[in-house]
């Protein structure tokens, strides 16, 4: 995804310098805001086609079992049932509750649900493991030790340490819980398939559908599959694939000869449509008496369901720098369980690595009797960007009032009354280099402009960013540009994952718009009597750079095109983008030591992301990420029952998200200006969601004088930690 794009043919393409930007970097409302806020936007879930059937899935009720029989005879006779599609055959093994076995379509949603209930599946149960246990309790066939990472001399590092802290940390499996469930509407027109899919991957879905349908005996090629996603209701890393339900939906539509809608029910969404792996670690970390770190040791493990979820890189941020190297030894073991598959969850592995690292370091600072702010400042030489983190730490400290408010752990706990307050901080990083994107800009003779990219807007503001860059480049107001995304009939663009979209689409749009403008300037240069290089597009005019009084209005200029529009394409430009950001977050919490309830009072995020295209939607990304972070820090957990193998909370009452009253005061500060902007555009979706868990956990430790080792920081865990320490004061 992050291959370096080809160098441009001509002069290196650039962003306009700071003083020349009219739109880039301003606070601009999202283009699709009115459609969404008025309920007119049509999501995949909202697509109703003439004659459309409704489909439901039958999924495994066993965590691990062999299917011995599938009896659809009763369902077939139910009123309204039009088609049944087997996803698994008798004899197949199911590996989690929620694994799809078959799909069926009926005239109404109620009929489809009745028919799904009438299907009888027989199983031969097999032993399952859904408990989130350490490797030694999982059994050898269920663990895989991944690469051991060693740097420097970790044994010498232990020798050099004056103080060593040992602790255990971790966070539970959580789910994506997109509010628009996974799913789609599929419709055939002869041999051509149209899919209204709720996807993060408009340009990449057609081959997946073709492959899946071919395997199901339906011959179709990628070129015959049209994918449409004008808007979508959240993905967070869980919506890159056609998925079994996508293929099943298209197969049902084929069999029934009618369009079919198949959206997952909420329980299925939470059981099977994506989760974030757990991660736990036993850590030993040492430092000199002055706070300088000398060593990191960790043994970590976690489960991502039936497959390993990648090797974490511990420690995180601190210890990632190369000069000097922090001696370390870290080992990770994957535990395979029957809880359902993991999917990329916003900043895969980072929130977990961040939690383990920042909490262990915070505990070490407490043992050293150091203010963690000083401790982290002292060890920034072990990061990849000490100057950025220093500036961000000081800024964040200023915004939350760290120097005035921070108290050592013991002192905070001695505060009067049951409510204790504390402060915590955390550092994070992310890459965010733009993906490969292609863009086409069309300038019509009547002056109208279209920008087309086979990308998608997950709610991050992609559509608006494209419009801003095109309008800026062409010297036009934002309203003069029509942005077309959300279809694989537009020029292909990468999937929206890993904060790669903004760099991809902004640079391909800048490139395409520049190319289109150059063609227009060449056309009108004779009329203005100067070479095209001496012309520029500004404020709705084509004008001579040194003598703006010699100009044509945009409309006049475009009228000179006669009857042929200009089309120009562009692609991701390395000169316009970069990767690698640093961010700092600080949290202030209030913990009631009698009830164990944690409340976030205030959180501050200080974040860099290079050149910001739209400050308003950029800030929204940070606010949203902090709130998502509060959710996983305090509430979210996919709770599994080892006895039955079932998930106990596949619904939104007991799979808790923060409500509007749970978030406290949030402050976002974007690092902008010189030294940041010249790096070009860098993605922002992931970084601010990484630190909240660690910052909040550290704040709770500061408030109550003891570490609550695992997220989410639920009242029972808080009370148990206090109890283990011997109660509150």
């Amino acid at each position: 995804m992050a291959e370096t794009p080809k160098p441009p043919a001509q002069a290196t393409i650039e962003w306009p310098p700071a003083g020349r930007r009219r739109l880039i970097g301003q606070r601009i409302s999202r283009l699709d805001g009115p459609a969404k806020a008025s309920g007119r936007a049509k999501y995949s879930y909202d697509v109703n086609r003439p004659g459309m059937l409704h489909a439901k899935l039958v999924f495994s009720t066993q965590a691990r079992a062999r299917i011995t029989a599938i009896d659809t005879s009763a369902a077939e006779k139910m009123p309204g049932v039009r088609a049944i599609h087997l996803i698994l055959q008798p004899g197949a093994e199911v590996r989690w509750v929620g694994q799809e076995i078959l799909a069926l379509a009926a005239d109404t949603e109620e009929q489809a649900r009745d028919a799904a209930r009438a299907v009888k599946i027989s199983y031969e149960p097999l032993p399952h493991l859904v408990a989130d246990v350490p490797p030694e309790q999982a059994g050898t066939e269920r663990v895989q030790q991944l690469r051991e990472q060693t740097e420097g001399d970790p044994d010498a590092g232990l020798q050099q340490a004056d103080v060593i802290f040992e602790g255990e940390y971790g966070c539970a499996v959580i789910t994506h819980c997109c509010l628009e469930a996974h799913g789609q509407v599929a419709e055939w027109n002869e041999d051509n398939l149209t899919v209204w899919a709720s996807t993060q991957n408009v340009s990449g879905l057609a081959p997946q559908f073709a492959q899946g349908l071919q395997a199901a005996g339906i011959p179709v090629q990628a070129s015959q599959v049209r994918v449409l996603t004008p808007v979508m209701g959240g993905g967070f890393g869980s919506k890159f694939a056609a998925d079994t339900w996508g293929v099943a939906c298209a197969a049902l539509a084929r069999k029934a000869g009618r369009p079919v809608k198949l959206m997952l029910e909420r329980d299925h969404e939470l059981l099977a449509a994506g989760s974030r792996p757990s991660m736990y670690a036993r850590v030993r970390v040492g430092a000199k008496r002055d706070g300088t770190l000398t060593v990191w040791h960790s043994e970590s493990w976690g489960t991502g369901g039936p497959s390993a979820a990648g090797t974490p890189n511990l420690p995180y941020v601190i210890g990632a720098g190369r000069n000097p190297v922090l001696p370390k030894r870290s080992r990770h073991t994957a535990v395979f369980t029957d809880i359902g598959p993991a999917r990329a969850w916003r900043a895969p592995n980072h929130p977990q690595m961040c939690l383990i690292t920042m909490c262990a370091l915070d505990d070490l600072a407490a043992k050293l009797q150091m203010d963690p702010l000083d401790f982290f400042l002292k060890n920034l030489q072990y990061t990849e960007r000490p100057e950025v983190y220093r500036e961000e730490l000081l800024k964040a400290a200023d915004l939350i009032g760290w120097r005035e408010k921070w108290r050592p752990r013991e002192e905070a706990l001695r505060a009067k009354g049951p409510v204790k307050r504390g402060l915590g901080l955390s550092l994070h990083t992310w890459g965010g280099r733009g993906h490969n994107s292609t863009c086409q800009v069309t300038i019509h003779p009547d002056g109208s402009v279209e920008v087309a990219i086979g990308s998608q807007d997950l709610g991050t503001g992609t559509r608006t960013v494209i419009g801003i860059v095109a309008a800026e480049t062409l010297g036009l107001p934002l309203e003069a540009v029509t942005v077309k995304i959300g279809s694989n009939e537009y020029p292909p663009s990468g999937a929206s994952g890993g904060s790669t979209t903004v760099g991809g689409v902004s640079s391909s749009t800048r490139d395409a718009a520049t190319n289109a403008l150059n063609q227009l300037l060449a056309k009108v240069a004779p009329a203005l009597g100067v070479p095209a290089e001496q012309l520029e597009a500004r404020e709705g005019r084509i004008q001579v750079k040194d003598d703006p009084s010699r100009n044509l209005s945009w409309k006049q200029a475009c009228a000179r095109l006669g009857t042929t529009p200009i089309t120009a394409s562009g692609q991701t430009q390395a000169s316009l983008i970069s990767s690698g950001v640093g961010g700092v977050q600080m949290a202030e919490v209030a913990v009631d030591v009698e009830t164990g309830i944690v409340r976030v009072e205030k959180m501050v995020a200080v974040q860099d992301c290079g050149l910001i295209i739209d400050l308003k939607t950029a800030e929204s990304q940070c606010y949203g990420a902090m709130i998502m972070g509060i959710c996983y820090a305090l509430y979210e957990e996919k709770i599994m029952d080892q006895l039955t193998g079932h998930c106990l909370n596949p619904d939104m009452e007991f799979y808790k998200l923060a409500g509007i009253g749970d978030i406290g005061e949030l402050v976002v500060h974007m690092m902008t200006g010189p030294r940041y902007e010249e790096r070009g555009v860098i993605g922002l979706g992931e970084p601010p969601v990484i630190s909240p868990g660690a910052a909040i956990s550290n704040a709770v430790a500061n408030a109550i004088g003891v570490r609550v080792p695992y997220l989410p920081l639920t009242p029972d865990r808080v009370l148990a930690a206090l109890e283990a320490k011997g109660g509150a004061v």
Binding site: Y43, E110, L179, G233, G234, V591, D592, M628, I660, L666
Partner: protein, 215 residues
């Protein structure tokens, strides 16, 4: 500490004065409550009106956005499914389908309700149903919607119509709310993208402009 704000001030459990949360308080049997609420509503319905309807599809007339709309639905069809599947009014979203998230919020005689917790046949007694489509004429934006756009109180936008409807209903009753009151009033709606900061600002500003409740 830190008294936990009440999640919801106005019950939204449908037309029987039975709020979903009141109901949960009463039973403590939350896992199957989705079904129980529906049954309870049905019972209440049959006590008030005979004859018994169903189980097959029955014709009903719903008054939606000022217009009578005729449709044929099974008695168990929720108001939300009737709107979305039968009338193509898809502004109200289906997310939890059991009265937790508020994405399906519509107005019933001006009060915000969860359309997923009410049966269509129960909403067919002449009550005035307002969906987000009925807030403003095509091409125009209700002031609350406009404030949501201005304050970027939406990302993916899937929760947004529910928030807008809850805010409209609340502002009609409480035209001058404080920031804290808004925070309490909208506790019955959930957002996954994390737009609460924008929502607070949007609702307070819509109120300040004094147009919140009137369309």
């Amino acid at each position: 500490m830190a008294e936990q704000p009440k999640r919801e001030k106005t019950p939204r459990g449908g037309g029987n004065g039975l709020s979903r949360r009141d109901f949960l308080k009463g039973t403590g049997a939350a896992v199957s409550a989705g079904v129980l609420v529906t049954e309870d509503l049905l019972r209440a319905q049959t006590q008030r009106t005979s004859p018994v309807v169903g189980p097959g599809p029955v014709p009903v007339t719903l008054r939606i956005n000022g217009q009578p709309r005729q449709l044929t639905v099974e008695p168990r069809t929720t108001l939300l499914d009737a709107l979305r599947n039968h009338l193509d009014l898809t502004g109200a979203k289906k997310v939890c389908d059991r009265g937790t998230c508020g994405a399906c919020t519509v107005l019933l005689d001006g009060r915000a309700i969860y359309a997923c917790t009410m049966l269509a046949i129960d909403a067919a007694r002449g009550q005035e149903i307002t969906t987000i489509e009925g807030l403003a004429p095509q091409e125009q934006l209700h002031p609350v919607s406009a404030a949501f756009v201005e304050h970027d109180a939406q990302q993916c936008g899937f929760c947004t119509p529910g928030f807008v409807m809850a805010a409209v209903a609340y502002l009609r009753e409480n035209p001058n709310p404080t920031y804290e009151q808004v925070t309490h009033a909208l506790g019955g709606n959930l957002c996954r993208c994390g737009t609460y900061m924008g929502v607070r600002h949007a609702v307070v500003e819509a109120a300040l402009r004094g147009k919140g409740g009137r369309s």
